[in-house]
Point group: C2
Chain length 238, copies 2
């Protein structure tokens, strides 16, 4: 009997590299830009509401965010926002797209070790904008460690199931690593896979969930990537 | 010896359904909006230049186009374009994203027949925005005919080679159907595959090429989808 074909999936934004901190900085700048029209809480609430309403037509990512920010600025200023400030929002969005990719602690060394060990297939499974996610992976220098990169429009049990089928990975041989309980952990546990939660210090409202993963031996929670190899060994030796 | 695993790839926009006509309509509306600042030719030239410059950071698709249109409007109006007209551009872009998908002639019947024949794997291979392309495929009603849907950030020989490797398709067993010589035909011929060109009556400037595919028996040119089954039979019986 040949060894089981184990596979590990990694979320990208806020799991492999910093991301939400850039959006948080954009929200702060946006609040400052609109401070003469509304208080900070109103601006933040309206921007978030526009972002969530636009997920359906636009999907995730920086371009979607930029369009939502422009729309919110026009709405909250009663149409008085000048064109050069709208151009400023476009420029800030484009800056986010070319911002250097900052890896999270322990990611580079841990992935290099996992890739050279060669005992598991390594995949990136991320949602968001196709071009932006591929560009970040290229700039991260991590691309060579992965067997496959899957950029999906949404993460839910159906999407994960289709993806595992396509790569001929049995759920019991699959471990997902990510920062979002809602997107990375709960859907994979629901399919019978294992999951490792590595929280990031910021979480976008849309990713929030009150659901708590069942602790049946397939769920792990870590503080940093450095602890990952020990968890993977434990999972491999179940 | 088992039969070769033949596969046919289909481009989506302007191959399976109308697309460029929506962009052409947007260009016309954009020209009308900016007519009080510049003549139509200048507006069109500037918009195209902005679109092409923004492919690198933004990629393809409606959101990218909308951001380029806003940026061009601000630039060409010398910052005088009012916010409600910028909102109008955002609304027009969102309309494009939910516009009904209009299939091209012969597509529905031909794909249904190919799928029920079951002699070839059928794939969609399209570039563009992840969310938008998936949404269009869902709305097209064609989704059930395809074994795989691949949405890529760019189409070139490297991307096609990786994709064929991943699906274990030998280039000599692969036929690509599309409207763009540059994106769909030339890269696949270069890899040793076969390709069917079904031109659409509009072609985005960026897709233009002067290169002519070599006529070595692996290249076919059709007027409509109705002629496709005959070409596929010819290809299968090479």
């Amino acid at each position: 009997m040949s060894a089981p074909q184990l596979a590990i999936g990694f979320d990208a934004d806020d799991t492999l590299w910093h991301n939400e901190n850039l959006f948080a900085a954009m929200h702060a700048r946006f609040g400052a830009l609109l401070a003469r029209y509304h208080d900070a809480a109103t601006v933040e609430r309206e921007l978030l509401a526009t972002e969530l309403r636009n997920i359906e037509p636009y999907g995730y990512g920086v371009k979607s965010f930029t369009l939502s920010a422009i729309e919110t600025a026009i709405h909250l200023s009663g149409g008085k926002i000048p064109a050069d400030e709208i151009q400023h929002l476009i420029d800030l969005g484009r800056d986010m797209l070319i911002h250097p990719v900052e890896l999270l602690e322990g990611v580079a060394s841990t992935l290099a070790a996992l890739a050279s060990a060669g005992t598991c297939r390594l995949l990136v499974i991320t949602k968001g904008d196709l071009r932006d996610q591929q560009s970040k992976l290229d700039r991260s220098g991590l691309g060579g460690h992965f067997h496959h990169v899957e950029i999906v429009a949404e993460k839910n049990p159906g999407v994960f199931a289709a993806l595992l089928r396509r790569h001929a990975i049995a759920p019991e041989n699959f471990l997902m690593v990510g920062n979002s309980l809602k997107s990375d952990i709960l859907p994979v546990l629901a399919l019978g896979g294992a999951a490792v939660h590595v929280p990031y210090h910021l979480l976008w409202t849309h990713e929030h969930t009150d659901e708590v993963p069942a602790a049946d031996g397939r769920f792990y929670e870590l503080k940093t990537f450095h602890e990952l190899p020990a968890v993977i060994r434990e999972w491999q030796n179940r």
